[in-house]
């Protein structure tokens, strides 16, 4: 057996009414019931607007910017799910992650 990370992408401006959200939520619950044994974990994320990007600046420091990681030649290479008291603590942790040629996006998980 092998493990896979399945990433969900969606248009944040679509399906914003309560009925659509309800429908999507029900769909996820059904998916979870049907495939429970195969699922190792999963989370809904806060919108991309709440993301913060951390990049090494090449001289020992970091630049911190508002918004999601803008991919150009970088590709998603891995992930950590971390617990932190607040965004400062999460960013401090993120800075410890090796990122020689890219950076990390810190995105809050939506509380259930």
């Amino acid at each position: 057996m092998a493990e896979y990370l399945v990433l969900i992408y969606q248009d944040e401006s679509a399906d914003t009414d309560d009925a659509s959200r309800e429908k999507i939520m029900k769909g996820h619950m059904r998916f979870g019931e049907q495939h429970g044994p195969a699922l190792r974990g999963g989370n809904a994320l806060q919108p991309a607007g709440t993301a913060t990007t951390v990049r090494a600046d090449g001289s020992g420091g970091f630049t911190i910017t508002d918004g999601a990681f803008a991919e150009t030649k970088e590709a998603l290479g891995g992930y950590y799910l971390v617990e932190a008291a607040d965004l400062d603590e999460a960013i401090a942790l993120a800075k410890e992650i090796p990122m020689p040629s890219g950076g990390v996006e810190v995105r809050p998980v939506r509380p259930m």
Partner: protein, 420 residues
């Protein structure tokens, strides 16, 4: 005459006054208890509404801000408790604590505003959002006023502020002064924002007033708070010095008839001597660091003007030297423009004009009224009156500040046929 009516009018006036002057203080003190800016804003609104119904009977309190803060904080605690019983999984609120029942002392309020400014200037927020949030939440400007400063529609600014506040809440941006180790890198942003509040107030980009004194005073207040927090920081000392040395000239920037009064025309005996003395001391301190930072250099430039007994006694070569240093660490076309003006006074209008014309292609200066207006001044001194008139007309087309427009129009008239 209906009895009681004058009382109501005075209560309404007192509430309006407390809203204009103390809203930001009350908000900052409430955010810490509420742990959420939107909730805090609602609680503060409720407290003002309560004042309107309570003060007519109970009288206006001696310290309205303390009364409003106590009411708003109590309300925030209620909201918190209700939420907590509804949702046991309420995430730990960043920076919230249990001190809310205590009536606030003034130093505590000052600390609260300092906390709030570090939240508003968090590096994970976009630079525009940082300034907008600080103006709205720490300086207490209305959304409409902030929108006018950014030259955007009120609805656009409201959406920008909402998005930023949503990020603060969802990403748990903490509400606290950073720890000592992080302070230097976090203070940089705060200084940038305070400097922007100051420059915005010093020459309001639009409107009928040249100076928004309230904004300059907010910037002065914030810079003083930062100085208390970081007494050894050269950048903080430099920024505070810059604000003081400029603020010291506030009463002389306008003539009695409301028109713009240039540095060369100002009555220097009316400059605020106490602020100049304080500013000069801070400049010396800020310049001790090598190499000096940009606020220290800008303050040193303001200090040269403050120390000159008359316009003609200004040490222009000292100014050119300071601008030479400033343009290296802060290569902005606006700094280069100011340097060119100083060159024009140190070495003559011909040299100044030459330095200005080297900046003609700068895209950042394309719509900047000071470039054609400085050119016009040098052209006039060189006796090239027609060209000067054209340059004043160009400057006039580029400025939206009513006082500056009036000044330029008068200069333009001086170059017209009537003046010859």
């Amino acid at each position: 005459m209906r009895p009681g009516r004058p009382v109501d009018v005075s209560v309404e006036a007192a509430v309006a006054d407390a809203h204009r002057r103390e809203w930001a203080y009350v908000l900052a003190a409430t955010v810490r208890v509420a742990g959420d800016i939107d909730v805090a804003e609602e609680c503060v609104q409720d407290a003002y509404a309560r004042a309107l119904t309570t003060w007519p009977a109970q009288g206006i309190p001696d310290r309205p801000a303390a009364w409003l803060t106590t009411v708003a904080r109590r309300r925030a605690i209620d909201v918190q408790r209700r939420r907590a019983t509804h949702d046991r999984f309420l995430p730990e609120l960043a920076g919230a604590d249990d001190e809310g029942t205590e009536p606030p002392g003034i130093p505590e309020i000052a600390d609260d505003r300092l906390r709030l400014i570090f939240t508003c200037c968090h590096p994970s927020l976009s630079p525009e959002a940082q300034v907008a949030l600080t103006l709205r939440l720490v300086c207490g400007l209305t959304t409409g006023e902030v929108a006018r400063m950014f030259l955007v529609q009120e609805s656009t600014m409201a959406a920008r502020l909402t998005r930023a506040k949503k990020k603060i809440a969802a990403a748990h941006i903490p509400y606290r002064v950073p720890e000592l180790a992080e302070l230097p890198e976090r203070t940089d942003n705060v200084l940038t924002v305070v400097h922007l509040v100051f420059t915005t107030g010093h020459t309001a980009p639009v409107g009928s007033d040249l100076v928004r004194t309230d904004l300059v005073e907010q910037a002065l207040y914030l810079a003083r708070m930062l100085r208390t927090l970081l007494p050894d920081d050269a950048d903080v000392a430099g920024l505070l010095a810059l604000i003081l040395l400029t603020h010291a000239r506030r009463t002389t920037r306008l003539s009695p008839d409301g028109s713009l009064s240039l540095l060369s025309e100002q009555d220097r005996t009316r400059w605020d001597a106490a602020e100049i003395t304080e500013g000069l001391g801070l400049v010396r301190e800020a310049l001790h660091r090598r190499p000096p930072g940009r606020y220290a250099l800008m303050a040193a430039i303001a200090a040269v003007h403050a120390e000159a007994p008359t316009w003609s006694a200004t040490d222009w070569s000292e100014l050119v030297g300071l601008y030479d240093l400033l343009v290296i660490i802060w290569p902005s076309p606006v700094v280069a423009l100011n340097r060119a003006v100083a060159v024009g006074f140190a070495e003559g209008p011909g040299a100044g004009l030459k330095a200005l014309d080297e900046l003609a292609g700068e895209p950042q200066l394309a719509s900047y009224a000071y470039l054609p207006s400085a050119r016009a001044d040098f052209l006039k001194r060189l006796g090239r009156i027609d060209e000067a008139g054209a340059a004043y007309a160009e400057a006039l087309a580029l400025t939206d500040n009513a006082v500056e427009r009036e000044f330029l129009r008068a200069r333009l008239d001086d170059t017209g046929p009537a003046a010859i």
